[in-house]
């Protein structure tokens, strides 16, 4: 008898509690109701969800909220690209503006061997720290090669190869993390009107004589490119390309300027061209790649 009373009372106690909490929470749900625009959910669904911050917002959700609430342009997502822009435009009922893919361009072409007046540096192995010290290398504009961009990249698309940050355009989605990480601001985001575009691979604004002293390949400001093609403007001993006027189908003058450059500072960057792929075509690639501890262990170092 007592066992049945205990069971009955337990059930009654739990039932009463359940009714009590249900009513309190039900009231709270109505009293504290937050109306959420369903379009925010839809926009957040349409975005890639990488939270890379390439749009200038903290994460994809914040951008979705800004698109819906503050009428932010729908083409900000560099990762999602055109399809994402179209999806957002469909949700918001606006016309999608054609958005060019923006990709990082490293404005330096000097590998370790090309950089002169280098001194041994044993400090914190980051560009941000090395940039505070004078005399790490002669060139005060160019890539330091300690890989802040490599660590910042969430897509493993930029690597320091032979002392120079090199973008892997087949992996890059254009979030801009490397450009923000570079303490020397030599990585800029350029509109890629074609798979491969021309870019200036130097950032040194010093006179030709000073550049020759610190770099084997740096731009000496000879203005040969400016004379050959109207796309180039030399200012502060450094050419820049007018990407607004850049037309990938009509590059005759620009190619000539590229060939004229005595230091070969004007380079084509982007996904590998058909010629590059053809050159790699007859290379024998192994079917199975054996793990190698030199490449597979993480590159964090003991710095105690």
């Amino acid at each position: 008898m007592i066992i049945w009373v205990t069971i009955g009372l337990s059930a009654a106690a739990m039932g009463t509690l359940a009714v009590f909490f249900t009513s309190v929470l039900g009231w709270a749900n109505r009293a504290f109701h937050v109306p959420v625009d369903p379009r925010i959910e839809a926009c957040a669904e349409a975005l890639p969800g990488a939270n890379c911050g390439g749009c200038g917002f903290v994460g994809c959700r914040e951008y979705a909220a800004a698109v819906v609430c503050d009428a932010e342009p729908v083409d900000r997502c560099v990762v999602g690209g055109q399809s994402c822009t179209e999806a957002l435009a469909a949700i918001m009922g606006v016309d999608p503006t054609p958005s060019l893919p923006y990709r990082p361009v490293v404005h330096c072409g000097a590998h370790t061997a090309d950089r002169l007046l280098r001194a041994p540096y044993h400090g914190e192995p980051t560009c941000a720290a090395a940039n505070l010290v004078t005399g790490v290398q002669g060139c005060t504009y160019g890539c330091l090669g300690f890989g802040d961009c490599q660590r910042a990249c969430p897509f493993d698309a930029i690597h320091v190869i032979d002392g120079l940050a090199t973008v892997d355009y087949t992996r890059c989605v254009g979030c801009g993390a490397c450009a923000r990480a570079c303490p020397r601001n030599i990585i800029t985001m350029a509109p890629f009107k074609a798979e491969r575009i021309l870019a200036v691979a130097c950032s040194n604004k010093d006179s030709g004589k000073d550049v020759r002293r610190v770099c084997e390949v740096g731009c000496i400001g000879c203005k040969a490119c400016q004379r050959a093609c109207s796309l180039f403007t030399v200012q502060d001993n450094l050419p820049s390309i007018d990407y607004d006027a850049y037309c990938p189908d009509d590059l005759g003058d620009a190619i000539r300027a590229m060939e004229k450059c005595p230091r070969h500072c004007i380079v084509a960057v982007g996904k590998p061209s058909a010629k590059d792929l053809a050159a790699l075509g007859d290379e024998q690639l192994p079917d199975v790649v054996a793990p190698d501890f030199k490449t597979t262990v993480d590159d964090t170092e003991w710095r105690g």
Binding site: V5, L9, A12, M14, L17, F21, F32, V34
Partner: protein, 252 residues
């Protein structure tokens, strides 16, 4: 007077001397997880304090009137079917864990709704850690401590009342807030330190937690000293014969 001293000592004990985090090592999950920024840590501490107080109030009420052996409501309800002798023996304390978890989950849900409505920034910065308060052992620990002061205590005068239970929960929460804010302050500084790679992140946080816990051991014994200092001599004299007659010993 002694009653207020008692409350004060419970509060002080929960907040500093027997700090939930540093003395009992409960509630480590949010202590490690949400202690990266001081503002977030403070918000987390406030949320835990609030949930702990609400859950303690519900737990005390349920334990005192329904769950403990011989609780008045249960005895009355059982008396409808059983004779008074048997009714007094009905024991619902098996339900205690379920009831406590139930109360904690409901209060967390309530806090979540409140924050989403009135403090959306804090709500977003909490993220997954807010629902995780539900399984925060610090809160269940507070409920179980309160239960241990009700169930199995034979002397009715020694059973905790609601004020004592609330003092434990509120100041236990304050102690948790204190601990997590101190921790967050240290971890903000740690960001700038060159910590050896194997210790980065959680390991060094646990090391810091251990050192902090040792620092908090310095409070041990403060409660006894305070009790002696705050209890008027008359009360000691009045209590002494009772204690003597109680245990039969003749300690002066």
């Amino acid at each position: 007077m002694t009653y207020f001293v008692d409350i004060l000592l419970i509060a002080l004990g929960a907040a500093l001397i027997n700090n939930f985090v540093f003395y009992y090592f409960v509630g480590i999950c949010p202590f490690i997880g949400v202690s990266r920024r001081v503002e977030m840590a403070f918000g987390m501490g406030c949320a835990v304090t609030f949930v702990m107080t609400i859950a303690a109030a519900i737990s005390w009420t349920m334990t005192r009137f329904v769950l403990m052996p011989g609780a008045p409501l249960t005895r009355w309800a059982a008396g409808l079917w059983l004779d008074p002798q048997a009714a007094a023996g009905v024991d619902l304390s098996i339900l205690s864990y379920i009831v406590y978890i139930f109360a904690i989950a409901a209060s967390v849900q309530f806090v979540e709704m409140y924050l989403r409505r009135f403090l959306p920034l804090l709500y977003r910065s909490f993220g997954v850690f807010l629902p995780l308060i539900t399984t925060n052992c610090a809160i269940l620990f507070a409920c179980l401590t309160i239960m241990s002061r009700l169930v199995g205590v034979d002397d009715p005068a020694a059973r905790w009342d609601l004020a004592q239970a609330l003092a434990l929960a509120l100041f236990g929460g304050v102690g948790f807030t204190l601990a997590i804010v101190i921790m967050a302050g240290i971890r903000e500084e740690l960001e700038a330190c060159d910590v050896p790679a194997p210790f980065r992140g959680v390991p060094i946080a646990l090391v810091v937690g251990g050192i902090l816990a040792m620092a908090f051991m310095g409070f041990t014994g403060v409660d006894n000293g305070l009790k002696t200092a705050l209890t008027p001599p008359a009360a000691i004299v009045a209590q002494a014969p009772q204690a003597d007659s109680g245990n039969g010993a003749s300690t002066p």
